[in-house]
């Protein structure tokens, strides 16, 4: 798996390098080509809504933080690397112990699970005609590696029977080793300069989480892959679309 990801990243970097060979004159912004910045990404979380009341009152937002560095390599092209981190709450079924007189029963209960998300992404921004990188409207494509896991090592998800949801079949422990997958993304955005060395960044984009550990889910759901399946489903729901806003500083 790791080999596949490495190959993909390498291919991407070579393609980008070939495409973004600087022509003759790369001005950057006032001579500055390297920028560093921070963005936050957010969007509605797509839950299963049963009625309009749910839609209004149950709507929640996903959230991610991004630290980014971008270097201008052509008049209209810049390459960047980003590190995303987030703690996202995925709805899940956790266990609740019901204690009786002489018995203890595990009961399923809908709850949130705190999940850690780490993404390392390489991206390329292509700025619109007549604008000079790194400012102006742009298209961004990116590829990255996603690592996700429960934020606390002991977190568990209850495996319920598909035919009778109230029936608990077992408790799936979330492994300490994080799951991984590949992220492919496309954004359209806008870098608006403010002051002399800064610019605001706005972008709207779509993320696809592919490959990695997810093929394991295709086999039947067991207590060993159940946590992965649950998290994988939610990670896509939470991060499929995103609106990004941030601030960058032109360093060099």
């Amino acid at each position: 798996m790791k080999n596949k990801i490495t190959t993909l990243l390498l291919t991407f970097c070579i393609a980008v390098g070939a495409f973004a060979t600087p022509p003759q004159h790369v001005p950057g912004y006032m001579g500055k080509k390297l920028s560093v910045g921070a963005n936050v990404s957010t969007f509605f979380m797509f839950e299963d809504f049963s009625d309009v009341t749910d839609l209004i009152f149950s709507t929640r937002f996903s959230y991610k933080t991004e630290l980014a560095a971008t270097y201008t390599v052509g008049r209209r092209v810049s390459l960047g690397a980003s590190y995303y981190f987030a703690k996202q709450k995925y709805t899940s079924i956790s266990s609740d112990y019901v204690f009786g007189y002489n018995y203890t029963t595990v009961m399923p209960k809908e709850d949130f699970v705190d999940c850690k998300l780490r993404i390392v992404e390489f991206n390329m921004k292509i700025f619109r005609r007549n604008f000079l990188a790194p400012i102006g409207p742009y298209h961004q494509i990116g590829v990255g590696v996603v690592k996700y896991n429960a934020s606390a090592p002991g977190d568990s998800i209850v495996l319920v029977d598909a035919d009778s949801p109230s029936q608990v079949r077992g408790i799936a422990r979330i492994p300490s080793d994080p799951y991984s997958c590949v992220k492919l993304s496309y954004h359209i955005g806008y870098a608006a300069p403010v002051f002399k060395n800064c610019f605001f960044n706005f972008a709207f984009g779509v993320n696809f989480f592919r490959g990695g550990d997810s093929p394991k889910i295709k086999t039947s759901i067991t207590s060993s892959n159940y946590a992965l399946a649950m998290m994988n489903k939610h990670i896509r729901r939470h991060n499929f679309l995103e609106f990004k806003i941030g601030f960058s500083w032109l360093a060099l």
């Binding site: 001005p27 912004y29 001579g31 000079l132 400012i135």
Partner: protein, 737 residues
């Protein structure tokens, strides 16, 4: 003081005077007049503190000698324009053009014109005409049924009434100054014929001929129609000004009632007036060159040469006119700055006809010979450059090589010798001798002898026709009398080598696209076009940035003048800051940057603006401009050959596809907020226009229009300017090698 501040002060003053709030229309007028007067004052077209303006002010002092308070409110300026005109503004500025002063006969006529304009100011006619115009053309209630013709007629009636009133008040004021009041009628006469040159005299085309270069009769007019004397009573119902006949008649009526008129035509000395008029006439010649009225400039220069035969200024003006006419012909471009010969009146028609009828090789040879002769007495850089450039054109376009010209001269000389001993006679004589020798004593001529004779006659005739045809190519004989001069030989040697390079470049360009399909050619040209967006490396050390402009317009309200002015000032400081960041030394010519005492810099701005104006007039025609020597002097002072213009046009408009986007986002509901924001926010478009010109060669070395689909933020503008400054600073690759 900016136009915004002046406008605010005017509004305050207006509110104080009328004790009413300033209406929207009046506010618009005050804003527009302040803005455009400011633009005019900053353009360099207005003369300050020079002898002509001082003279106009001294006449104004005399006209207003009894009205010191009114005098204090008024400022008189001379405007560099060849159009004969005068106008006043609501702010108390009165402008008189050099074109008008150059046409006047005496000081009293100038005094009447100033009195007329003072009356316009006193009665606030500019404001009332504007208000009336707004009322008539925007009134949707009373005159809804009125046609556009009716509206124009109503409006022009109001304007005409203002003119009559100003005439009447002007004459009344003139009568109190000691000037001859009848000169008001004289001023009307001047206005009627102000479209004519300074004087009407027979144009001598022989001045441009040379011993072997004689103009054929087809280049000269047989007769010249007389000047129309009855053109003063044309229909004026749609015109802003009454016709001259009506104005004169009203003034004559008023004159009869005036009893205490003076009789002085000149309050200052007569010589001073003529000196000022001559200065204006010299200036008009220069302005005609800028406006590309070349035959007009030649005609007026020829007139002035009668008084100043040794003037290099006038000789240069003629040389520059001939050069530019030849360049336009060689490049096959139409010069819309010059009227067709049948549209001009009087003897100048001959001058227009001569140069307009000449073919491209004829005008090239005439111009080249004139410039060559001129360069012997005036070795200025501009004249030499024009001479050499035109010589290259002569070789490149018309094959006027030294060898070809020498051959033509030989042919001409042979033909000349044959004219003394006519070829046909010799042929006849030879035939007769042959006839005598070949014929038998009985007088019988065989059919072979007859045919032989016929053949020989035909051959001789062909030779004569060929020689005559070669002689008629007078352009090849322009240098016939001096063909062996070292200067001529050297000039043509240089031109031939330059023409060779030009030919090779042309062939290479043609070859490049020769084997391509139309699709490939289009793609290749598109690619070249895209490359042009990258600033051309020019290796420029210093650049003179002339008067950056900024225009802001909205779809609903048109140009927003206050925002435009604020934007212009912002852009100027942006240019300075970015140039400093790019380590590009610039000299910024902008009125706001000047100190009050910066008269030199103001005059330099005027010269650079005039050079740019001429450059804009020439459009795609690459010529060494007539203003080059003046602009070059400014550039030399700042050690640069390059001037740069830059400006921003920003437009705010509604998005065209709002409905579609909202509908789409309703269907994809999570995107709805973005769709609403998209629909509610306007679309901005910004154009950054930049041009870099080489003053000495007249070439546009870089021209770029960047269309940015964004608001004109200083960051975007700065980013583009930085790119340009760093780009042009780089050495071109050929220099590097």
């Amino acid at each position: 003081m900016s136009a915004k501040v002046k406008y605010q002060e005017d509004v305050k003053q207006e509110t104080k005077t009328t004790k009413k709030y300033v209406s929207k229309t009046k506010g618009e007028f005050l804003l527009q007049s302040n803005y455009f007067v400011d633009i005019l004052l900053q353009s360099g077209k207005v003369l300050f503190g020079d002898s002509v303006t001082n003279y106009v002010n001294s006449v104004a002092d005399r006209v207003l000698i009894n009205e010191p308070e009114l005098r204090a409110q008024l400022t008189f300026y001379t405007l560099r324009s060849e159009e004969p005109n005068a106008f006043s503004t609501d702010q108390g500025m009165i402008f008189v053009t050099v074109g008008l002063i150059s046409q006047l006969e005496n000081e009293a006529q100038l005094a009447f014109i100033l009195s007329h304009e003072i009356a316009h100011y006193q009665k606030r006619h500019t404001l009332s005409v504007y208000m009336e115009g707004q009322r008539i053309f925007s009134d949707n209630t009373k005159s809804r049924s009125a046609t556009l013709d009716d509206k124009i007629r109503n409006f022009s009636n109001h304007e005409k009434a203002s003119e009559y009133q100003a005439d009447s008040m002007g004459l009344a004021r003139l009568s109190k100054t000691g000037y001859d009041c009848s000169e008001a009628i004289g001023a009307m006469f001047v206005l009627q014929f102000s479209h004519l040159p300074f004087d009407d005299f027979a144009f001598n085309s022989k001045f441009y001929e040379r011993p072997m270069m004689v103009f054929p009769k087809s280049l000269l007019l047989d007769s010249i129609p007389p000047i129309k004397l009855d053109g003063d009573s044309e229909d004026d119902q749609y015109s802003s000004h009454p016709n001259i006949a009506n104005r004169r008649s009203k003034l004559e009526d008023q004159l009869e009632d005036l009893t205490n008129c003076g009789s002085s035509k000149f309050a200052s000395t007569e010589a001073q007036f003529y000196l000022i008029r001559t200065i204006c006439r010299f200036e008009v010649v220069r302005l005609e060159l800028i406006a590309r009225n070349y035959p007009g400039a030649i005609y007026n220069s020829t007139f002035l040469q009668k008084e100043y035969p040794q003037s290099l200024y006038l000789k240069r003006a003629i040389g520059k006119s001939l050069y530019c006419m030849a360049k336009y012909e060689n490049l096959g471009k139409n010069n819309d700055g010059t009227d067709s010969y049948h549209k001009v009146e009087g003897n100048q028609q001959q001058c227009f006809y001569l140069f307009q009828r000449m073919s491209d090789e004829q005008i090239t040879s005439v111009a080249l010979r004139y410039l060559y002769d001129l360069s012997k007495v005036d070795s200025s850089e501009t004249i030499l450059a024009m001479r050499n450039d035109l010589c290259t054109d002569a070789v490149f376009y018309h094959n006027m090589t030294m060898e070809a010209m020498q051959k033509s001269v030989r042919t001409y000389k042979e033909a000349l010798a044959d004219t003394v001993k006519p070829v046909v006679d010799t042929a006849t004589k030879t035939a007769e001798v042959k006839k005598d020798s070949s014929s038998s004593p009985s007088g019988y001529v065989s059919k072979y002898d007859k045919l032989r004779n016929e053949k020989k006659k035909k051959e001789k005739k062909e030779v004569v026709e060929q020689k005559n045809a070669e002689v008629s190519k007078f352009h090849m004989l322009a240098f016939g009398d001096i063909i062996d001069e070292t200067g001529v030989i050297r000039m043509f040697e240089m031109a031939e080598s330059k023409a060779e390079i030009k030919t090779q470049a042309k062939e290479a360009k043609e070859k490049k696209y020769a084997n391509m399909s139309s699709y490939e050619e289009r793609k290749a040209r598109q690619k070249e076009g895209k490359k042009n967006n990258t600033p051309t490396p020019l290796g420029i050390d210093t650049v003179l940035v002339v008067d950056p402009f900024y225009l802001y317009a909205t779809e609903r309200e048109g140009y927003k003048l206050l925002e435009s002015e604020a934007g212009r000032y912002r852009l100027c400081s942006e240019v300075s800051d970015v140039a400093a960041a790019a380590e590009m030394p610039i000299v910024l010519f902008q009125m706001k940057e000047f100190e009050k005492t910066d008269i030199d810099k103001y005059n330099e701005l005027a010269l650079l603006n005039e050079w740019l104006e001429e450059s804009a007039n020439h459009d795609e025609v690459v010529v060494i401009q007539s203003e080059t020597e003046f602009a070059s002097s400014v550039c030399d002072k700042y050690h640069s050959d390059h001037i740069m213009i830059t400006g921003v046009t920003s437009i705010k408009q509604h998005r065209s596809n709002r409905g579609g986007v909202v509908l789409f986002t309703i269907l994809c509901w999570p995107l709805l907020p973005a769709g609403i924001v998209y629909a509610l926010t306007p679309e901005h478009e910004t154009y950054l226009i930049t041009g870099i010109f080489n003053v000495k060669s007249g070439e546009t070395e870089m021209s770029r229009v960047s269309r940015l689909k964004a608001k004109a933020r200083s960051g975007y503008i700065g980013s583009q300017l930085y790119d340009i400054f760093t780009g042009i600073k780089k050495e071109p690759s050929s220099t590097k090698k």
